[in-house]
Symmetry: C2
Subunit: 209 residues, 2 copies
């Protein structure tokens, strides 16, 4: 028995976005954020993630300008890095994940490996930081910002899970640390949503093919 | 202001699983599947994903035996491959993603790149196939199975999204193609849940450290 399914990638995208637009009141968002929200919803298959969507005014533009400037993108896990479409980015943009950096060693000291990896993000000032997995990585980023290590142009804050995910995102939005934020609050998040947000920015910037 | 958060990885896991067990009736599942479900819920932060959880009786054991035998793990996207914890696997198990295989060329012909990539999965018989992103990859896998290309030991079927995700998973569970299945039905799914299911099997098998 042949299976009947849509095989044209452009048509799959078009239909997906049409369904999302029909189920979500996207016009409640400013235009750039409506596009980011659409891509996040597309990545997770859940329209109700909209209710947890949070951002600072101007966050999309701040992220776009950083990418155009060639700022690095720091990712907490390899899954986030894998999800970022490299061909959409300017060639000089580094997509960095330090979780498997040999400098970290094999032993987790004082904090999780995900958090220790954030200590290796050398150029925080003006960067784009993407947390798609570990709440402890987001907490460590907040600590470093408080310690004066630099203010990212944008923090895409989407750690996921039951311990610290909601709390770390609340801390980020509660504390006025001067950075722009795009977040999915609560327990939900993940590397697919986080990398989708980056990809949305590259498309908005006209960087994509 | 110092941030107060749990930094001990073992304690974060313990507490996460405690919360999941308190919110989900895991004992409605046979033991191996309760562990797989816990890991999937842990990966997505959603306890209600349980209602979409589906599997064939014996699926976990079939997957474990395949991994112990050294069967390949085929992944539809790099994000799934990144999420699979390699150090938990026997050294002879290959984790394969053909999405960026040069044999595919640059042009999408007749079907999506994700679907064409499935045509390069050379040893389907007895393998573990993990679909964490593309419905078209799952459809293509079903077509290949119908064409006699081999029966996987386990299909972890978790494509995500609005076009074809629910439908392709319904086809897999409706058609009796002889393979074991672990799935999250409906629009939800994704590479984090899919790789979490693989990691759960390696832990159940005693392969993990």
């Amino acid at each position: 028995m042949p299976f009947d399914y849509i095989k044209d990638p452009a048509e799959i995208y078009r239909k997906s976005f049409e369904i999302i637009a029909s189920e979500v009141e996207l016009d409640r968002l400013p235009q750039p954020m409506a596009h980011v929200a659409t891509r996040i919803i597309h990545a997770c298959g859940m329209v109700d993630v909209m209710k947890d969507f949070a951002f600072t005014p101007g966050a999309a533009m701040s992220g776009i300008e950083a990418l155009k400037r060639g700022a690095p993108i720091y990712c907490d896990v390899e899954m986030v890095r894998s999800g970022i479409i490299r061909r959409n980015l300017p060639a000089n943009v580094e997509v960095v994940c330090t979780l498997n950096d040999p400098r970290l060693g094999d032993v987790e000291e004082q904090n999780t490996r995900s958090a220790n990896a954030v200590d290796l993000w050398d150029n925080l000032q003006g960067s784009v930081c993407v947390i798609g997995n570990a709440p402890t990585a987001l907490y460590r980023l907040l600590e470093r910002m408080e310690d004066g290590a630099g203010v990212p142009a944008l923090v895409i804050a989407m750690p996921v899970g039951f311990v610290g995910a909601a709390e770390s995102k609340d801390e980020l939005t509660r504390n006025k640390l001067g950075c722009h934020v795009i977040s999915v609050l609560g327990r939900r998040g993940g590397s697919a949503m986080a990398s989708a947000a980056v990809n949305a920015l590259t498309i908005l910037a006209g960087m994509a093919e």
